[in-house]
């Protein structure tokens, strides 16, 4: 009896989110997977599988004999026949990877500082980290357009300093540099928060013990704190790398003529070229690439453990 109630409660609690994911994640993914094999419509979108006559009766056009008129591998072929798509994937991975690394380097000391400050200030500092979320993402990126623009005080001061050293003035807006700045800025809190949650739980006695055993400051960090903080790093990496990989708004707004990422390409297929099948292929390929990377990371991780 007790058991049955427990089981029912478990389903009641986990059911709604499960259903939500099933409907709003799995179903669209399946639709997209199916769209990747279809032909494009005359005015963009997809070639219809049904037809409605004047009387309002709808008939299904596709059947077991003519399915090859409606389904195709053409869009996949297009992805592989030219290296520009693979090149763009690599570039996007590079942008997202660089963003993740910079985020780790910047977030680690900050998270450490927050985790080691007194309880009262700690809450305030965490609040400050999430404060930027109170204003809209696009407005914050627009702010960066002003900061990086040539008329801003930041640019003017920087360029006058460069002029002292005889360096040509630099233009920061509309460049790959601006894209990375934007990506790091937007994703930094997503690295700080999981790292902080992790570092806060560390037992300080471990560091004292290491010191007693003769470890210097660097050894204490590298042998004790760092390995313990790896789960936080991985959580942050997943939260930063994956969204950064699919980002299109930042390259659109801050990027120059040579800064598009795969997200821009996917958006372009759906909105500009209205080529849904190819857009779906690109999305699937991106998902696969991320899964592959995750699998590789897991494999490398388990191998590392075996060696130890």
């Amino acid at each position: 009896m007790q058991n049955r109630i427990q089981r029912a409660a478990k389903w009641l609690i986990s059911g709604p989110p499960l259903l939500y994911l099933l409907i709003f994640f799995a179903a669209p993914s399946l639709i997209m997977g199916f769209a990747a094999f279809r032909f494009g419509g005359d005015y963009g979108g997809l070639m219809p599988l049904t037809q409605t006559d004047d009387a309002g009766k709808t008939t299904l056009l596709i059947n077991l004999h003519n399915w090859h008129d409606f389904l195709t591998l053409e869009s996949f072929g297009r992805f592989f026949e030219d290296s520009i798509y693979a090149g763009l994937f690599l570039k996007s991975f590079w942008y997202a990877g660089l963003t993740t690394i910079i985020c780790i380097v910047m977030a680690y000391p900050l998270a450490w500082l927050i985790a080691r400050s007194p309880k009262k200030t700690r809450d305030l500092l965490v609040l400050l980290v999430i404060l930027p979320f109170w204003s809209n993402f696009l407005i914050r990126v627009y702010a960066w357009m002003i900061i990086l623009g040539p008329q801003s005080y930041f640019s003017k001061v920087l360029n006058s300093v460069l002029a002292v050293f005889g360096v040509e003035p630099v233009s920061m807006l509309f460049s790959q540099f601006a894209v990375i700045v934007g990506l790091v800025y937007v994703h930094l809190p997503f690295m700080v928060l999981p790292l902080y949650a992790n570092l806060e739980k560390h037992d300080m006695a471990l560091l004292d013990a290491a010191q007693d055993l003769g470890a210097n400051a660097w050894q204490r960090f590298w042998k004790v704190t760092w390995p313990l903080s790896l789960p936080g790093i991985w959580a942050g990496t997943a939260l930063v790398f994956i969204p950064a990989l699919g980002m299109f708004a930042i390259p659109d707004l801050l990027g120059g003529t040579n800064s598009i990422m795969v997200g821009n390409l996917i958006k372009q297929q759906f909105l500009d070229s209205r080529d849904w099948p190819f857009g779906s292929v690109l999305s699937i390929m991106l998902t696969l690439a991320v899964l592959l990377l995750a699998a590789f990371a897991a494999w490398a991780g388990s191998r590392g453990k075996e060696k130890q």
Binding site: I84, D252, G256
Partner: protein, 352 residues
């Protein structure tokens, strides 16, 4: 939005039984005083809903949105609306003011004989620029070389943006090479793509979203963009008391033209009010108010005398007969053409 619309309908409905006209239009695309005057004249209420892109409007109507009477699509979006049976033919006997429309804008490829659509306003795609800088550098903006010729671009490297729109940018590059804006010949496309690739290193960005601001701030000096945006940029520059203005003019090789048209939806609740509204908007004075507000091109021959004199002089707003001949409307690409251009566009955008 739908709920809001419904709420608006209901409140309006209580106040004035059933006389409500629903317009689905571009954002900021009708003067408020015009709406007020129409409401007094027809003794009805006007409810507006807006879109920011043709795809948005098409997607919503194709998904079966109901309750709108009048919609204002750009030329290339009209064939899909007609073909899918979403609009109804216009009864011209109820539109006496149709005679006001400049014949250059009637009979478009998208609706021969204007059976379904009537021109509302237009924009041209052209070069806009910082007048002070262009004068200082002695640049010639009367042709497309100021966007595409590396020799000219050297002087303004990093101070140019072009539209992030494959059709518009290819059209400009095609015209620069002496081809038709609507060409689908692959060798001509290739030539245009090469032109773009050669000029690309000199451009600051592909920019459709923020060039008004960049021009107004003085960050960017030469822009491939839309006439009504440059009108806005010039007003902004004046308001901010900048030491320069934003000017714009048509190019010798030709420019693209987008005509927005009024249409009545098939499931319009009040086609009678819709016809009244269309006829009202075809009146010269009513039509002129939009041009005075946003500097849109005006296809209404009777509107010119009501338009502010300084706007009348702008060739992009009132093109003369010779300029008119060089304006080309982009048609809708279909099937393989659409996909191939998409591919070329990716190539151009990822090229080093």
């Amino acid at each position: 939005m739908k709920k809001l619309l419904l709420a608006l309908c209901l409140t309006a409905g209580f106040a004035q039984a059933e006389d409500v006209l629903h317009i689905y239009n571009w954002n900021n695309y009708i003067a408020p005083e015009t709406v007020k005057r129409f409401e007094t004249e027809c003794k009805c209420k006007v409810v507006q809903d807006y879109y920011g892109a043709m795809d948005e409007m098409l997607a919503k109507l194709q998904a079966g949105a109901k309750g709108y009477d009048v919609v204002v699509p750009t030329g290339f979006a009209i064939p899909p609306l007609i073909k899918q049976g979403l609009v109804q033919p216009l009864d011209k006997s109820k539109l006496p003011n149709f005679k006001n429309v400049n014949p250059s804008f009637t009979n478009g490829w998208y609706d021969p004989g204007n059976k379904f659509s009537v021109p509302y306003a237009f924009t041209t795609t052209l070069v806009g620029f910082n007048d002070k800088k262009v004068k200082e550098l002695n640049l010639d903006t009367s042709n497309w070389s100021v966007i595409f010729d590396p020799k000219v671009l050297e002087k303004i490297k990093g101070k140019i943006t072009v539209l992030d729109d494959s059709r518009e940018l290819f059209a400009a590059a095609l015209m620069y090479n002496g081809y038709q804006a609507n060409s689908t010949k692959r060798d001509e496309w290739k030539k245009a793509a090469e032109t773009i690739k050669k000029a690309k290193p000199y451009w600051a960005a592909f920019n459709t979203q923020s060039y008004i601001k960049e021009l107004t701030l003085g960050n960017i000096w030469v822009v491939h963009g839309y006439s009504s945006d440059f009108f806005q940029a010039n007003i902004d520059a004046k308001t901010a008391k900048r030491p320069f203005g934003i000017a714009y003019g048509l190019q010798k090789e030709g420019n693209t033209l987008s005509v927005d048209n009024m249409m009545i939806l098939k499931n319009a609740p009040r086609p009678d009010l819709a016809l009244k509204f269309i006829n009202f908007m075809l009146d010269g004075k009513n039509s002129s108010e939009l041009t005075n507000m946003i500097g849109s091109g005006n296809p209404n021959a009777a509107a010119a005398k009501f338009v502010q004199p300084d706007i009348q002089k702008i060739s992009a707003v009132f093109p003369d007969a010779t300029a008119m001949k060089k304006l080309q409307q982009l048609n809708a690409l279909e099937g393989k053409d659409l996909r191939d251009l998409g591919k070329l566009w990716t190539e151009v955008k990822t090229a080093k």
